[in-house]
């Protein structure tokens, strides 16, 4: 069967400006595969990003896009999704963008369980600003902004944070495995509710610790080890395996999925009138509205 939309359909004429070998190429590739698999109409997809190397991603796709400011991509995406719930809204960004400056919006979007997909390209460093510590940098990591004692703060644990904030689809992928990443992204987009895909995406220029080799030695597929993604408690235990508690085994795959939680859109009272962007403007019953003021 010929597909209506080939992989090429989703590519734009704009070529990525990432460093050769950057993990973000794999994320772009995985996202294109996921969109192709799902056969989403490019004009019904809105990609929203913030600032940073990873946040250039919408430019390289032929969908609608919004390249926003640092840390606010999730908020822009929420507004767009609430205004037009028929859109497939996907947010892309980096660890600084989402887990640092934007962490407040991240947590609140998850507790709302809005039907958004958030792909965080987590390279544990600030790349575009040339190599400062990020919220996911390991303890002890020496960077331009932590040159003496290294990082002396605990890293954020995005998986545990997502589980505790109400995300209903929580997964981790790795740029060294595009196939698994595309599957996790595709299922995340399909999922009715907030999905987080924490994508381990090595920065080959500024992060000399968390390299492809570093991850290849440590990653394993937790779903192949029999993890039950319907069990929140088990998901928390798996989340604790990395990065906060220990460094040696890094689980990849689907930590948690719950399809029974109503989404924000399911509960939003304004949607009784239909999709807001499709509503005619103007008010028919002005007298009724004005009554309370008389």
């Amino acid at each position: 069967m010929k597909l209506a939309f080939e992989l090429e359909t989703y590519k734009s004429e704009v070529k990525p400006t990432w460093c050769p070998g950057c993990g973000d190429f794999a994320v772009l590739n995985a996202l294109q595969h996921a969109l192709t698999e799902l056969q989403l109409e490019p004009w019904n997809v809105l990609l929203v990003s913030g600032i940073g190397c990873s946040s250039n991603l919408p430019q390289f796709l032929s969908t609608y896009g919004f390249h926003a400011i640092h840390g606010r991509a999730v908020a822009v995406a929420e507004g767009a999704k609430l205004a037009n719930p028929d859109l497939h809204v996907i947010v892309t960004g980096g660890d600084g963008d989402g887990y640092g400056i934007g962490v407040g919006h991240f947590i609140h979007a998850m507790r709302r369980n809005l039907d958004l997909t958030y792909i965080v390209m987590n390279n544990e460093i600030y790349g575009l600003t040339t190599g400062q510590a990020s919220p996911t940098s390991e303890m002890g990591m020496k960077t331009k902004s932590t040159p003496i004692a290294g990082v002396i703060e605990n890293p954020i644990d995005p998986i545990a944070l997502a589980l505790s904030s109400g995300a209903t689809y929580v997964a981790r992928a790795f740029s060294g495995d595009v196939k698994q990443m595309s599957e996790l992204v595709a299922k995340g987009i399909e999922h009715h509710g907030f999905s987080l895909i924490d994508a381990l995406s090595p920065c080959v220029t500024y992060n000399k610790i968390n390299t492809y080799e570093f991850f290849r030695k440590r990653v394993y597929d937790l779903n192949k080890e029999g993890h039950d993604a319907g069990d929140l408690k088990a998901a928390f235990l798996k989340a604790l395996e990395w990065p906060v508690v220990q460094r040696d085994r890094i689980p990849l795959g689907l930590f948690y999925r719950n399809d029974k939680v109503p989404t924000y859109e399911d509960l939003e009272p304004a949607y009784k009138k239909g999709n807001p962007v499709k509503q005619p403007l103007g008010v028919a019953d002005a007298d009724e509205i004005l009554k309370e003021f008389l």
Binding site: H108, A270, G282, V283, I289, F293
Partner: protein, 584 residues
Amino acid sequence: MSLPEIVFRVGGAAGDGVSSTAESFAKMCSRSGLHVWTYSSYQSVIRGGHVWTQVRGSPEPVLSHGTVPNVLVCLNQQTMDVHQGDILAGGAIVYDSDLVKPDPSRVAKGVRLLGMSLRKLAQTITPNAIVRNTVALGAAVRLYEIDFRHVESAFQDIWGDKKPEIVEQNVRAAKLGADAVDRAGGSLHLGVPFPEEPRYLMTGNEAVALGALAAGVRFHAQYPMTPASSILHWMAAHGPAHGVVVKQVEDELAAMNMAIGAGHAGVRSMVATSGGGFCLMVEAIGQAGMTETPLVAVVVQRGGPSTGLPTKTEQGDLNLVLGAGQGDWPRGILAPRHTQECFDLTAKAFNLAEVYQTPIVLLSDLYLGEGFRTVDKLDFNVPIVRGLTAADGGAIQGRFKRYAYTDSGVSPRAFPGTRGYQFVAATDEHMENGELISDVLAGLPEFVEERRKMHEKRMRKLVGLRKDMPPPELWGSANADLTLIHWGSTWGPAHEAILHVEEEDGVHVNSLEFPTLFPFHADETLRILKGVKRTLSIEGNYTGQFARLLRAETGYQPTFSFPKYDGEPFTWREIADKILEVVA
């Protein structure tokens, strides 16, 4: 101004129910056909402090909350201590004689002191202590000779649906107050005529919400902040039934960014806040300018800087909204002068925002936003103009030129979901098709030119925007000795001051006022200023932020200035005194 009028003041501690008592009273006045204007003075506490509200009602249009009251209700001693000297002969002070004692040496002769055991009277009906306010309210209603049926109908509207027994109790309590007045000599015989044709009563904030609804707002995001919160409250209660998504969000950054996302997706989108919240929104508002996303931002000013005077009024945020966001980007700033204009200009702001694809700021303040005023019936049949959309853009080859260079600076926009018009809106500098100039192209000769052209394209919007925004107005006598210059909520007290000095002192004054603050109507302003003699600039801030803008845009320096920054609104008397001082 010649007819007798009601000036009612009630005071107590926060938690005593002062504002709801005053609101009920204001409703009774508007239902009996009076024009009404209220002002509430309060502090940022839940219990305690000194809270008072003044309700002015007149068969003729009113322009401010007035000066001294003819009836004062004291629910605590502090109210008596602070206000007893204000009442003029012929008026009355109703007070809770269980708690409050007047100082007759401070009360003018001919003021009736009506001590009542408000609490004990209320307790004959219900143990609910707050009902003592209703006893006092009933007394005031009788003192002014307001038809008692308005008391019943007001209570019916407040509690009727849910608790009919509460309506009955309060009506009885009000009767007790009225009877007590009858026993103590009856009404004040002020002779206020009641037209008995009900009038619409609302706050400026409610009028903003109604204007937005009329204009078709479909997304409203807000973080609570005095004095803008009642916009959120009204919207949250009423918006969803009209298809409006109303979000109380985690912070103002979220509010502004969500509104941008919603505007980008194609709905009419709004945020509301006060200066402190707008400070946070400043991070993102330039993003709307750069991505050419329409939105309406309402800033209801309070005393600043920082958290300042949360419950007091000021006009101190003009510099903030003029300078909001880094770099240059086209914006519009409107400043409603009165409640009707809160409705009109909000509705207009949505058209301007969409036609010019840029943020429009509506600058209101606490005095206007929170004060209840009567308005004529609002006409919801407002024009809706959505501007250029992709359907007008023609066939698309390659990437849609969302930011196409045009003479007007306005390029056709496409809503996500529209087939074939995919583009990326970018907050970095970009080309006509949205592709970034910033990454690897900035500085290359061809792209230096692109940046210049794109920037000029956006800024060209200011020409059309200025033309479509309401011009300055000269109000009053043609040949005045003095011209007042002011903006925003100072309108009412300024006009009332002018009417007084013209009638009582024979001084001819007119008024130059600015519903649009930016882009500035410099040519029209200069044309008007050429025809005036001396000017007095009146502003609710220390440095004269508007006078500075006027000087920057026209080179004109007002002859006199009258700044006020104590947190209280201008009264007509203060302005009249200043006029008399400068013309002397």
